[in-house]
């Protein structure tokens, strides 16, 4: 009797796992197909980060140190991901709410966690061409002195993306309670976090021009730690032994933000079913 019950339990668990994987993969694929299926997507995505990083690279050169132009080029490559997190990840559920798609997700057995993870995966892979294009164009034009890429760079890059998209998951649940103002909130977060996290300049550490208190606040943003670690490996050839505090903090932040995001999401969904609040976009 107990054996049959546990077999049933295992069967249900397996079914849930299969659905989870299928949902995550299909959501990622939809995003990738949408982006790669239309080359214009890549062209328009490259524009903002590329021109901004070129302008800031000019500024670095004029300020006196051509060797620092790499900060601007690296920033251009990474800002594409931050843009993707804020515009296509954090605000996606809000957009889905406004367009009515969220009801299809909630009324299906698809776990929202799988949708968000799939969206992140799709976002990372879909943004890759724009990010690489900015890095290549910037490097060709300014020839900044990059240290040869190492395993440490790859690890930091991946961990930064996990933490960044984890932040996207946390934000996406919060965005569900926003309405028309979500676009303005996007702008506020995009520029403020771009500034504080030092995408284009070191906002923490010994080269930071910011006061310690501001640096402390900036350190709470995963992107800040990721950018700092990336700059230190790529331009100052530091290795994992020097960067382990950044990496540990990034890993902790990634886990915490994904956990908080998913808990908030399930709370908002439950509250929405009770009050009908998150369903306001529906007739």
């Amino acid at each position: 009797m107990l054996g049959r019950a546990s077999q049933r339990g295992r069967g249900a668990l397996r079914r849930s796992f299969v659905i989870w994987v299928k949902v995550a993969v299909s959501r990622a694929l939809i995003r990738i197909v949408a982006m790669y299926g239309d080359p214009l997507w890549i062209v328009v995505n490259v524009g903002g980060p590329m021109l901004t990083s070129l302008a800031l690279a000019f500024l670095y050169r004029l300020a006196g140190l051509s060797s620092l132009t790499g900060f601007a080029i690296l920033g251009g490559g990474m800002v594409s991901y931050w843009g993707n997190v804020i515009w296509s990840m954090a605000s996606q559920l809000n957009w889905d709410k406004r367009s009515g798609m969220i009801y299809l997700y909630i009324a299906s057995p698809a776990p929202l966690t799988a949708l968000l993870i799939g969206m992140s995966l799709g976002g990372i892979l879909g943004t890759l061409p724009s990010s690489i294009a900015v890095l290549i164009i910037g490097t060709l034009l300014f020839r900044p002195p990059f240290a040869p890429p190492t395993m440490a760079v790859a690890l930091i890059f991946m961990l930064t993306l996990v933490a960044l998209y984890g932040m996207g998951i946390a934000l996406s649940s919060l965005y569900l309670i926003l309405g028309r103002e979500s676009e303005e909130v996007n702008e506020v977060l995009y520029e403020s976090i771009s500034f504080l996290s030092g995408i284009y300049f070191p906002s923490i550490g010994r080269f930071s021009p910011l006061p310690l208190a501001v640096q402390a606040v900036a350190s709470l943003i995963p992107l800040t730690l990721g950018m700092d670690a990336l700059r230190r490996t790529l331009f100052y050839a530091e290795g994992l032994t020097e960067l382990w505090p950044n990496l540990s903090a990034l890993a902790a932040m990634a886990v915490a933000s994904i956990f908080i995001g998913l808990r908030t999401l399930s709370y908002i969904e439950r509250r929405g079913r009770e009050t009908g609040d998150i369903l306001v976009a529906m007739k």
């Binding site: 949408a34 982006m35 299809l104 299906s108 079913r273």
Partner: protein, 327 residues
């Protein structure tokens, strides 16, 4: 076997200033293979009921079972056996083909890929959009997008499919195709089709049974024929000049159970549709109209429609109800 059961289902929305009773003790059952219509004016509670049955909203009191599962305690099980489509939501992802969109929605239910592909072809054939399957969504015309929206609701082979105003704003040809699909899916595949609509013609044409809902309460449930034949009172249509519009609420007229007035400004005419307590009251109404200098061009007893059933139950038509005119 009942696929949808509601028992004393009640939903109250509370805001700072008011308390709205959206559903008030709703109880009914819908069988397997049945096309069931929920007919009522806007604001009657149709969408709230569908939201509860599709697990999007919790009831305040009462119980609802879909496919034998409780919508509150077993929401996940309910979700895996239902399909849902509303005219108000977006069809899918614009930069992705119709086929890929349908495939994505099939994966939300974990449908095996070969099975999903088979259903996509089958649904596209039934709704006549096979040649549109490989086009990106943004290139599709409104009619094809709407068909895709309906196909999506069937993509997981659901036991119960809920539709909220499915043919709203749809062209006649697409609407016809969709109604045929509803009947076929119910009768061939024993699915329950649950349809919330304020389209009387649609309810009459496809529904095995219709529940008439107003202000959160079910007023009557039966087949469209039985509902109409239960209306023993005479329904009369009077065609008058524009002065006919000035009589106001028809229920104020002696012997009138309920009625509607439609004004045709362009032709300076009005159509007064009244349900009389008794045929004898017709003379009195004609006399009253003459006294009020309303010219009556024509009057005749007509076959009742479902709206007449609604009028006889609440005293006013859908339009008047939506404007808040009390019977």
């Amino acid at each position: 076997m009942a696929n949808v059961v509601t028992e004393n289902l009640t939903r109250v929305f509370e805001t700072k200033s008011k308390r709205i009773l959206a559903l008030d003790g709703v109880s009914f059952e819908v069988q397997r293979g049945e096309v069931f219509g929920l007919l009522g004016p806007n604001g009657a509670g149709k969408t709230t009921l569908i939201r509860i049955l599709t697990t999007l909203l919790l009831p305040t009191y009462g119980r609802a079972l879909v496919g034998g599962f409780d919508v509150v305690k077993e929401a996940k099980k309910v979700r895996s056996i239902i399909g849902f489509s509303s005219s108000s939501e977006r069809v899918g992802f614009d930069f992705v083909t119709a086929r890929r969109n349908l495939w994505f929605f099939s994966q939300l239910y974990g449908t095996p890929i070969s099975e999903a592909n088979r259903r996509i072809e089958e649904l596209a054939a039934m709704l006549d959009f096979q040649d549109q399957l490989d086009r990106k969504l943004y290139t599709l015309t409104t009619g094809y997008r709407q068909r895709l929206n309906i196909a999506r609701a069937f993509i997981n082979g659901p036991q119960v499919v809920f539709f909220d105003e499915p043919t709203n704003g749809m062209d006649v040809f697409s609407a016809k195709k969709i109604r045929e699909l509803f009947v076929k899916e119910a009768k061939t595949n024993s699915r329950t089709i649950f349809l919330a609509t304020h389209n009387m013609f649609e309810a009459e044409e496809v529904c095995d049974r219709v529940a008439i809902i107003d202000r959160g309460r079910i007023l009557a449930i039966d087949s469209p024929e039985n509902l109409k034949s239960s209306l023993s009172k005479p329904v009369v249509l009077l065609e008058t000049d524009i002065a006919g519009a000035s009589i106001g609420d028809p229920t104020q007229l002696e012997g009138v159970v309920g009625g509607t007035i439609k004004v045709d400004d362009e032709n300076e005419a009005a159509k007064i549709r009244v349900i009389l307590r008794d045929e004898d009251f017709l003379e009195k109404i004609l006399g009253l109209l003459e006294k009020r200098r309303v010219r009556v061009f024509n009057y005749q007893r007509i076959e009742p429609t479902l709206e007449d059933v609604f009028i006889s139950l609440v005293g006013a038509g859908f339009a008047e109800r939506e404007r808040g005119i009390e019977a």
